[in-house]
Amino acid sequence: MALFQISEPGQAPAPHERRYAVGIDLGTTNSLVACVRSGVAETLPDAKGRHLLPSVVRYLAQGEPVVGHEAQAVAHEDPLNTIASVKRLMGRGVEDVRKLGKSLPYEFSRGDSAMPRLRTAAGERSPVEISADILKTLKQRATETLGTEINDAVITVPAYFDDAQRQATKDAARLAGLSVLRLLNEPTAAAIAYGLDKNPQGVYAVYDLGGGTFDISLLRLNRGVFEVMATGGDSALGGDDMDHAIAEWIMREAGIQDDAGHKQMRRLLRDARAAKEALTGVERTPLRIDLGGGKVWQGELTRDRMNSLIDPLIDRSLAPCKRVLRDAGIRTGEVDGVVLVGGATRIPRVRAKVSQFFGREPLADIDPDKVVAIGAALQADVLIGNKRDEEMLLLDVIPLSLGLEIMGGMVEKVIPRNTTIPVAKSQDFTTYKDGQTALLVHVLQGERELVSDCRSLARFELRGIPPMTAGAARIRVTFQIDADGLLSVSAREQTTGIESSVTVKPSYGLTDNEIEQMLRESIAHAREDDAARKLREEQVEADRLLEAVRGALNADGALLSADERASIESGLNELQAARGGDDAASIKRAVKKLDQATQTFAQRRMDENIRKALAGHKLDEFGASRGKSPS
């Protein structure tokens, strides 16, 4: 006999009513997808039980790209069409890529766009599209595992990612059909995975040693607010370097010449890696190296020997640790906890040295490969509304200052780094020539004073300023940064009201048209109808709005008069009816109409929120706070 299940009041809804949103760690070497199921956050494996998806994409002349292990396995046979470490190219311009230089074995083509494109057998691909292919694979995996289409995700980015890199990541998600609930800083995600956000305050170091990169971040937590105090690292240091050090030692021991062939080198690296991993659990491991021609070398690697080989590399990671401590102005003793991220932190020697450096045992009970994805999944679960956690609040800060170019190639900072976001700031500028009718707004990110030392994010023109004497015009430029750290800028001439605004589609980013074009192409590729896609998009949007407005009515309907309520309900009915049809345009109209109808309601709900926020505090009478020490 089946028993009815009764859930406790106020608890999460029954599993089948839960909405799923995933956390994605889009890494340089590997990527992962994780989700909260039955209250537990876990990474999702592929059909073969593998959790890590190598961030490698191979493009073929025909058919879908191959992503992950299968692409990685043939990387050396088809290097030009097999793209690895594309994260290094995200948000980068053609010039940046040139500076990265010969370390990239790919062929670049220069199109109209400032964004580099890689030539592959399947045609040209931008880093955003390549990342989108990785995200699609993860989305597909999640959809299959969870048995329901997954559309919402929290995606992690390095704390130091600038606006262009963040925007590129968000664009990639859009191309992959994912709506980004939040871009989350990787170290913050790791801290969430360990539940550190539950602590009232503290300073935490997140030590992230991956396959090819090392990042160190210091986070300050104050009642749910995570501030990245300082971040640093070494973009060319990781577990792969340890494999090389061990392989070179094997070569010396086995008498293999320096000019070992490509194939032999790969085999050696594989053996070195296996030995390194074995030594995590044991003190010594046997080596058996095939020298070719029927000859075999046998030896042994002890943990002590390996430690002496990798110590110089680990020490290299400690230099940036010292630097960030100094940048943040704190001593090692003030660090309340250390979180380990990245596969290479499994090595006992790494743990010992990190522990020694910070003077405390690092947190390491969550798999360091998975910890970032798990933290992202926890945050996704909160954002999608499965968990009503009133205490949880995650505020990020912008990692780099934003400013505008002024006379003489100098930068005027408008928003300094480490400002809590979202933030909006305005600054007034004026013309420098008599009769000047246009103004070039050049947006930059960075700490230096000279334009040439900062990163150019965008340029746009405010035209139609009426001719005035130099210095008479008042042009107010407003920067707005959202919770993901993404910027939009608008400019307005105050005396005439002439306005110009852009969402900063950065110098190295994609325009909305380009994204639309790519979406069309990728859909055509999948032999789906463009109209069907548009309809589907409008339906998803309609469902989201219907649910949101109904939820709001349930919660705060009392804030409305009968007339106001009736007008919103008629909007709801209209949208519901349009949603049932198959005309994308009429759904869009109904969405817009309902959105308009809820304007007053939204404002009242916000006012009510503010009233509730301050309800615990006495509305001070004048003078009530007199006599207390000022800040």
């Binding site: 939040r182 009642r223 509304g385 959202d482 709005l545 706070s625 020490s629 000022p630």
Partner: protein, 179 residues
Amino acid sequence: MRAAPGKNHFELFGLPVAFDIDAGDLASRYRELQRRVHPDKFANASDQERRLSLQMTAQVNEAFQTLKDPARRGRYLLSLRGVDIDAETDTAMDPAFLMEQMEWREGLEELRQADNPRKRLVELANRLEQGMQDKIARFRQAIAGDGPEATARARNIAREMQFLEKLRREIDDLEEELL
């Protein structure tokens, strides 16, 4: 673009328009407001509410940054009285303060040449902090009065504080250089 039109920073936080503020109370009001208005609380809401939440959070952040810092708070109070302290730069500064300025500047210059700049830097930063506290105390007195004379006095002190803030940034920059 204001999400709470007509409310000044003090009103947004439910505080009286006054110079003295309890830092702990301000921070706790800030967190409560953020918990209610932050975009993360509206990830599933309509576009209308999400836009509003973004603007509101930005306004709350801006208000908090302004109110928690005494020098910025002072300037903001003056702006509520219709006084823009950057407006007329030709107003004569107190000669005593001009002397003081020169001394600060000389101190900073000497420090660059000194044998032990880092130690001297800390001393200078401490002296500056003391100077700032003195100005805050004088500003508090001045702004408590509400006649035009009191306001003018407050404005002059606010300008002096602005100078000290600039000096503080230069000391910070130098500190970074010396590291």
